[in-house]
C-alpha cells in the first residue's frame, strides 16, 4: 500500500522501545513532511552516536573519548565510586547535584531467572579499580528491587574487607502520601529512620 522506502522506515521505527506500528507510521509521515535538512540532521545524529560513542575504559559510562567526562574531571572526588546498573542511572544522581565522586556502570543487575550471572556484569573491573587503591567508599546505587538488591549484596560481600561499602537509602518518596505506600517501602523507611 505504501512505497517500499516508507514501509522500510516504519518497520525500522517500530523496532524502537515504546514505538508500535501506529506510532511508527505517525513519525514516518511527520518526517516526510519536514524539510530535507532537518531529516538529514536526524539521520546524521543517529550515525554520529553509533560511530563516536563508546564505553569509558574506566567506568563504562558512555563517552566520546577513552575516558568519560566524569573520569577526566580531576575536581571530582576520586575516593568515591557510585555503582549503578546502567549509564542512564547517572542522570538523576547528577541532577540531584549533591554527588561529586566517580561512577562505575555494571551493565545490568544479577538475575538468575534471565541467565544474568556475576560474570556478565562489570564486577571484576570494579574490584580492579578498588584494588588500584585511592578508593575509600563504594556507594551501591543499584535499583531497589530484587535484582538490584541481590547485586548490591553480592558486591558488598566482595568489597567489605577492602573499603567502606554503603547503599542508597530506601523509603518514602518525597511528596508522596504515607497512606498509599506499600508495606515493603514503609518497612524499609522504618528500619532506615534517622534521628532529628
Amino acid at each position: 500500500m505504501l512505497p517500499a522506502p516508507v514501509e522500510q522506515l516504519i518497520t525500522e521505527l517500530s523496532k524502537l522501545p515504546g514505538i508500535g506500528r501506529r506510532s511508527a507510521q505517525r513519525i514516518a509521515f511527520h518526517l516526510l513532511r519536514r524539510p530535507r535538512e532537518e531529516t538529514q540532521q536526524l539521520a546524521q545524529a543517529i550515525v554520529d552516536v553509533k560511530e563516536r560513542i563508546r564505553f569509558c575504559e574506566r567506568c563504562f559510562n558512555y563517552s566520546e573519548e577513552e575516558l568519560c567526562s566524569f573520569c577526566r574531571d580531576a575536581r571530582r572526588d576520586q575516593s568515591l565510586i557510585c555503582v549503578v546498573e546502567e549509564p542512564n542511572d547517572i542522570i538523576p544522581i547528577e541532577k540531584g547535584g549533591d554527588y561529586r565522586g566517580l561512577y562505575h556502570v555494571l551493565g545490568g543487575a544479577l538475575s538468575p531467572l534471565d541467565g544474568v550471572d556475576p560474570e556478565h556484569l562489570r564486577i571484576r573491573e570494579l574490584l580492579a579499580r578498588v584494588g588500584e587503591g585511592g578508593v575509600e567508599e563504594v556507594i551501591i546505587a543499584t535499583n531497589p528491587n530484587t535484582s538490584g538488591e541481590s547485586t548490591a549484596l553480592y558486591i558488598a560481600d566482595l568489597l567489605r574487607e577492602k573499603v567502606k561499602v554503603t547503599r542508597l537509602a530506601s523509603g518514602l518518596p518525597v511528596g508522596a502520601d504515607l497512606e498509599y505506600a506499600d508495606e515493603a517501602t514503609v518497612s524499609r523507611a522504618l528500619s532506615g529512620r534517622r534521628e532529628l
Binding site: P112, T146, D182, A184, S187
Partner: protein
C-alpha cells in the same frame, strides 16, 4: 469470566515494558499464570511500588484486555521479604519460581498447584527469617517435587522404573525411565544415593509443613535437585537456569 475480576496471586517475575511499565508474571488462583501489564510501576511514585517483587502474595484486581491483562489494584497478603533478604534463600526461592513457571501454562487454572504454592512460599519465608538453611533446602526441594507431581511427572521411586526390580537395589536415577533404576538397566542415568532417594520419598509423601523436619546434607540436596532438573529437561524440554545452591 468478567472483564474485571479479583483473585489472589503470587508474583513470579517481571520484565520492562516501554519507559515506565512492566509486564509482571502472576500465578493466580483464578486463572493460573497470567502475564499482566502494570502501568507506571517503575516510577518512584507508583502505588504498586514494592508490592510486585518476586514471591510476594497479593490480592489483585485484573482487567482483561484484548491482548493482555492489566493490573488495576493490588494489596499485599504476604511480602515474604525474608526470602529476598538473603542470597541463599533468594536463589532457592527463584529456583522454585522458575520450576513453577516451567511446569504451568498461561491461563490454565491449577487449584492444587495454587494451594501448594500458597503454603510453600510462607514456609520458605519463615525458614529464611530464622536463617535455617537446612529447612530452606528441604522446603524448596519438597515444593519442586510436588510441582512435578502436580504437573504429572511423579518420579517412580519404589522399584526400578525400567525393569520393576525391588527397591533395595536402586542406585541410579533416569528421567527417561521415569525414576530410580537398578544398576543393570541401561540408558542415560546418574548415580543417586539411598539417603537421597529416601529423602525424595519423604518429601513426596509428606505435606510441606513436614519438610523442615528432614535434615538434608548439601550432597543429598544436590542429588535431589539434579533429579528435579533432569525430569524437567526430559519431560518439559526446559533447562532450569537457577541452581538453588551454588
Amino acid at each position: 469470566m468478567a472483564r474485571d475480576y479479583a483473585t489472589e496471586a503470587v508474583v513470579m517475575g517481571s520484565h520492562k515494558l516501554g519507559d515506565a511499565d512492566r509486564v509482571v508474571s502472576l500465578f493466580t488462583e483464578a486463572s493460573g499464570r497470567v502475564p499482566t501489564v502494570v502501568k507506571g510501576v517503575r516510577k518512584v511514585g507508583s502505588r504498586f511500588g514494592g508490592r510486585l517483587e518476586p514471591m510476594t502474595i497479593l490480592s489483585v484486581r485484573l482487567h482483561e484486555g484484548r491482548n493482555l491483562y492489566t493490573l488495576t489494584a493490588a494489596d499485599t497478603i504476604s511480602t515474604n521479604a525474608s526470602i529476598r533478604d538473603d542470597p541463599f534463600s533468594l536463589r532457592a526461592g527463584l529456583s522454585f519460581i522458575e520450576l513453577l513457571s516451567r511446569s504451568t501454562t498461561e491461563f490454565e487454572r491449577r487449584p492444587r498447584t495454587w494451594n501448594m504454592v500458597r503454603r510453600c512460599l510462607p514456609a520458605l519465608d519463615r525458614a529464611a527469617r530464622r536463617s535455617d538453611s537446612d529447612a530452606v533446602r528441604s522446603i524448596v526441594l519438597g515444593g519442586q517435587l510436588k510441582l512435578l507431581l502436580l504437573a504429572g511427572f511423579l518420579p517412580h521411586l519404589q522399584s526400578c522404573a525400567a525393569c520393576g526390580a525391588d527397591g533395595s537395589v536402586l542406585t541410579r536415577f533416569s528421567a527417561a525411565s521415569g525414576g530410580a533404576i537398578c544398576p543393570d538397566c541401561p540408558g542415560e542415568s546418574f548415580s543417586i544415593s539411598p539417603p537421597a532417594l529416601q529423602a525424595m520419598r519423604f518429601l513426596l509423601e509428606h505435606p510441606l509443613a513436614s519438610a523442615s523436619e528432614l535434615s538434608l546434607s548439601p550432597d543429598q540436596a544436590r542429588e535431589i535437585w539434579r533429579s528435579v532438573r533432569e525430569i524437567c529437561r526430559h519431560h518439559l524440554g526446559a533447562n532450569l537456569r537457577v541452581e538453588p545452591w551454588i
